[in-house]
């Protein structure tokens, strides 16, 4: 109750600030950005706590806060403010990827490789194919596909299917962190969403290039291939270098290194973006190197966890504020349809894959729910889609935005339930205690 009261009080102060402005809406300058940042931090944090008490994920609380206070509803946080707060997005993604990388202990994951491979083939690629087929056969519902010849319609459906099959490592890592979950389900889901990130980027590049050619747009295949190679291989190489540097620092620095990690994430995000590298892959590679080649993995994990809360809170609140509610209202029917197809694809595909791999019952039952969350990657691909196909990209991306909006709201709650019911929630503490006792043994 007190938290709700505080949210209302802070909202009242924001409304006061808004009444000071002569024009409707708050501004984009420095004070507006600081105001919005502070407001989102406080409000989203408390909303997350309230949602936690309601047995819902905190991050859903952050997202809902963003939606409510964002430009589409209350308007306390305006579009220019959101633009300025985008700096949090890159940093948050890099931190999340660093956490994901540190989580990927190849030795402990080795028994899961078979299951992950099956999941990649059946669940991820299968769902992408299923979505493409669904788009193709329901193209009459989509005005931008009217009148397209069959080959072109197939190509566009394939691109949309791949885009809508993208998952969200950010949500998976944030939920794992929030629930302090650990175990086969957590690790398998993490492994799959990370791997599928690579695969979806690769497939999207191939499919969109082919589609461009089919539409008569001049597409340089060699250039696309080299750009893709630079983005993936270059990111891995730079990530390994960054991981080496972080590892050396962690080896010699005593005390808290949280601020250092945040600075590294900021640099990875900002510089990586400038040189056409993927910050997510860079940070992921760095984290994996530290986990698998040094003794500092657990320490880095704890430091990132401690430092990342403010960044996560603002990141998810900003994400919520940028959810395209208007688009959702216009493409509601097809979006709900494709969300259902996607869910069906992941749930059935996961069941088939885990059964084929001989995975335990927990994995068979719950893995599909871990693949449902969707966020940043799908949105990024949708934006690329607009750029690649200006004629109909905007209409097609509205569909993706609508589907992502639904998945953002529902999927985290489902995965949270899966973690609780699988018994993996809260298991991380015992792992940390084991690691700490092991460190203590080594030191003594």
């Amino acid at each position: 109750m007190m938290r709700l009261f505080l949210i209302l009080i802070v909202g009242g102060l924001m409304e006061t600030a808004r009444s000071f402005a002569p024009e409707p809406g708050l501004g984009s300058g420095a004070s507006g950005t600081a105001l919005a940042c502070g407001y989102l931090l406080i409000t989203a944090f408390f909303a997350g706590e309230i949602f936690h008490h309601l047995h819902l994920p905190k991050l859903t609380g952050y997202l809902v806060t963003g939606i409510v206070v964002g430009p589409q509803l209350l308007g306390f946080v305006s579009n220019p403010m959101l633009d300025n707060l985008e700096i949090f997005n890159g940093t948050a993604i890099a931190l999340i990827a660093l956490t994901a990388g540190v989580e990927l202990d190849l030795r402990s994951m080795r028994p899961l490789f078979r299951t992950i491979t099956w999941l990649m083939v059946v669940a991820v690629l299968g769902t992408a194919a299923l979505l493409a087929i669904a788009v193709y056969f329901t193209r009459n519902m989509l005005p931008f596909m009217h009148g397209l010849p069959t080959t072109q319609a197939i190509a566009v459906a394939a691109v949309l299917g791949i885009t809508m099959s993208a998952q969200s490592p950010a949500v998976v890592v944030a939920l794992r962190s929030e629930m302090r979950a650990d175990g086969p389900l957590t690790r398998t889901v993490l492994g799959v969403v990370v791997m599928s990130d690579f695969v979806v980027i690769l497939l999207f590049a191939i499919a969109s290039t082919i589609t461009k050619i089919l539409f008569g747009v001049r597409a340089d295949v060699v250039q696309t291939a080299s750009a893709l190679a630079w983005e993936i291989l270059g990111s891995i190489a730079i990530g390994l270098l960054a991981g080496f540097a972080i590892g050396v620092y962690l080896r010699y620095a005593k005390g808290s290194v949280a601020l250092f990690v945040v600075i590294v994430a900021l640099v990875i995000a900002e510089v990586g973006q400038q040189i056409s590298l993927d910050p997510l892959i860079i940070a992921l590679a760095a984290g994996m190197l530290i986990r698998n080649a040094t003794q500092s993995g657990e320490r880095l994990y704890r430091e990132v966890e401690g430092a990342s809360l403010p960044v996560y809170v603002v990141f998810f609140a900003v994400t919520g504020a940028t959810i395209h509610l208007k688009e959702l209202s216009t493409v509601a029917v097809p979006a709900v349809l494709y969300v259902s197809v996607r869910a069906a694809g992941f749930l059935s595909g996961s069941w088939i894959a885990t059964t084929a791999a001989g995975a335990p019952a927990t994995l068979r039952k719950f893995t599909g729910l871990g693949l449902l969350p969707q966020a940043g990657l799908a949105l990024a691909l949708a934006l690329l889609f607009i750029r690649a196909f200006p004629a109909f990209g905007a209409a097609a991306s509205a569909l993706v935005f609508g589907a992502v909006a639904i998945n953002e709201m529902l999927a985290p709650a489902l995965y949270r339930q899966a973690l609780e019911r699988s018994g993996e929630a809260g298991q991380e503490q015992s792992r940390v205690a084991e690691a700490e006792s092991a460190e203590g043994t080594v030191e003594s």
Binding site: M2, L6, L8, I9, V10, G11, G12, L13, M14, E15, T16, A17, S19, F20, A21, P22, E23, G25, L26, G27, S28, G29, A30, S31, G32, T33, A34, L35, A36, C37, G38, Y39, L40, L41, I42, F45, F46, E49, L74, S78, P80, D83, N84, E86, K254, G255, L259, F260, I263, L266, V267, E270, V271, Q274, I275, E305, A307, L309, P310, V313
Partner: protein, 558 residues
């Protein structure tokens, strides 16, 4: 929405009712005239100002994956809207000219033909003719962005490293602890980073990171306010308050007096608005003393009681800076501000107090809900960011509003206070050093007017401190010893002084503010270096003595 509106109205009314004059000025949309109608663009493009990227640059920045202000207008000190700012005189419904200034500053009404408005008189000789606005350099290429990001990361890393215990131990060993503790190397780093050849903190980068400046100012204010707790009141010896009042008040007056003298010699009017404002800001910055003074006294062999006394006096002196800044922000509203509220300065004063108190209570209530270190960091960071952003948005001082909030939080009961203190101490130094880097980048070292003001400030301050100490001795106030008196006279300017002028630059876009930045930063460095040079031999001797005592204490007794 209705609830939010209701609460906000209630809060504001509660704050304003304190003023006891709601009916007299609570009239929204009452226009105000802008007395000095300087072209806003020319004002904002004064040297050292952070201006937004132009339209073309905005596009370039967007191409580079960045968003930029889609306006080619210069920044205005009004609430930030997407619309190009207008002058108050151009605001709608501006049939009746009025002013946001208090009545005693209004020029008398002149009957007959309207006389041309005289140009504003400033503290120093009039500024050179300002060229048409040169738009700031925009970060065009990826290499420039990378350089800026890496440079900023390096500066941040240095600030972080400097706050590490190991580095501080090395500084102490090298005997440069005090100078580095004061953070001035970071001011120099900021100055270097702003050089066009280096290009790390270019004008456009500074514009992008301005939210950090608001946060830094708010943080400094909050930290200063957080020290006004029961420990301070318990440590006050009889007469300390009076000593602090005299030791801050007399320099305040001497600085204003010195400025007045200079202005009079130039034939200006003492009631000129710009002069009064600038003199008050300079006096607010120059009246206080750095927190390092007690350490200096300790270095000179002062006993614990003296150190405690000087510490408490130096703390109280900081109120002069806060009060001066609060009065300036309330009574000297920025020109050209596009505002919906047109109310008198006294009302802004009470809004400042009400806002600080309200935000303080909210922060206190917020912190009681935090249960761990990370949660404290989130909520404290969010609260200070919110308070400073709101103050800056209303064109009030983030330093003052956060100071009041800090005082409120630290004096309310509860265990969250200690946790907040711990979080503040963890983050204080990196944020402070980063703030100094940005302050250094605002420093226009080439402006001769600033150096003249520096001499005026340092001279008037020393004279004022000396006179204040003389008054205390003659009137037997506070029974301070010669050593304590010397420390208070020669104590350097502190971080709050720099925060005062940087905050003033955030409020007002006049060229004189950048001269004052030169004066205050230069003055702070000069006083620090002089004090260090004068005290080092004795300090080292005292340090050796302390070291010998410590060693002797550690030796096992036989």
């Amino acid at each position: 929405m209705a609830i939010a509106r209701g609460i906000s109205t209630a809060l504001i009314l509660a704050a304003l009712t304190c003023a006891g004059g709601v009916q007299s000025w609570a009239q929204p949309h009452t226009p105000a005239a802008s007395p000095a109608a300087q072209p806003a663009a020319a004002q904002a493009k004064a040297p050292g100002k952070m201006a937004p990227p132009d339209r073309k640059g905005g596009q370039a920045a967007k191409q580079a994956g960045k968003t930029a202000e889609p306006t080619d207008q210069t920044p205005q000190p009004g609430p930030e809207t997407e619309q190009p700012p207008q002058s108050e005189s151009a605001a709608p419904e501006s049939n009746v000219p009025s002013t946001a200034l208090p009545n005693f500053l209004e020029p008398p009404e002149v009957s007959g033909p309207t006389l041309p408005e005289p140009p504003p008189l400033l503290l120093a000789p009039p500024p050179p003719q300002i060229k048409p606005p040169e738009l700031p350099t925009i970060v065009h290429s990826a290499s420039e962005v990378i350089r800026a990001v890496l440079g900023l990361a390096l500066l941040f890393g240095l600030a972080y490293m400097a706050s590490r215990p190991l580095v501080q131990r090395i500084e102490r060993k090298l005997g440069i602890s005090q100078l580095v503790t004061s953070g001035f190397p970071f001011v120099i780093l900021g100055l270097i980073a702003h050089l066009p050849a280096v290009g790390i903190l270019s004008d456009s980068t500074l514009w992008e990171i301005r939210p950090l400046l608001a946060l830094g100012l708010g943080w400094i204010g909050f930290v200063v306010g957080f020290r006004f707790d029961s420990r301070l009141s318990e440590s006050l010896s009889p007469g300390s308050q009076t000593v602090a009042f005299v030791m801050a008040g007399v320099p305040f007056l001497t600085i204003v007096g010195a400025c007045a003298l200079v202005l009079k010699l130039m034939g200006g009017s003492l009631l000129n608005e710009a002069f009064l404002r600038d003199a008050l800001i300079l006096a607010a910055a120059g009246a206080g003393t750095a927190r390092s003074v007690p350490r200096l006294l300790k270095g000179r062999g002062g006993d614990a009681e003296s150190v405690q006394k000087v510490w408490s006096i130096a703390q109280l002196e900081q109120l002069a800076g806060i009060a001066g800044l609060m009065i300036c922000a309330a009574f000297f509203r920025p020109h050209g501000a596009t505002v919906a509220w047109q109310i008198p300065g006294s009302a802004w004063l009470f809004i400042t107090l009400g806002m600080g108190a309200t935000v303080g209570v909210v922060i206190y209530a917020t912190l009681t809900k935090a249960s761990g270190g990370a949660q404290f960091s989130v909520l404290l960071l969010g609260s200070v960011c919110f308070a400073s952003g709101m103050a800056s948005f209303l064109r009030l001082s983030p330093v003052v509003v956060c100071f009041i909030a800090g005082v409120v939080v630290v004096n309310l009961p509860g265990r969250s206070r200690e946790a907040a203190r711990e979080t503040l101490s963890d983050l204080e130094r990196p944020i402070y050093l980063l703030f100094l880097v940005i302050a250094g980048s605002l420093w226009q070292i080439g402006q001769w007017q600033g150096w003249i003001l520096l001499c005026l400030l340092v001279g008037a301050r020393l004279t004022g401190k000396w006179l204040g100490a003389g008054v205390c001795r003659l009137r037997h106030i506070g029974s301070i010893t010669d050593e304590e008196r010397r420390s208070l006279i020669f104590g350097p300017l502190g971080a709050l002084a720099i925060a005062v002028v940087v905050n003033a630059q955030d409020l007002y876009f006049d060229p004189t503010i950048s001269w004052m930045i030169t004066a205050v930063i230069g003055g702070a460095i000069a006083t620090e270096v002089i004090v260090q040079a004068a005290l080092r031999p004795q300090e080292n001797a005292a340090g050796y003595a302390v070291g010998r005592e410590e060693l002797a204490a550690r030796r096992p007794t036989k």
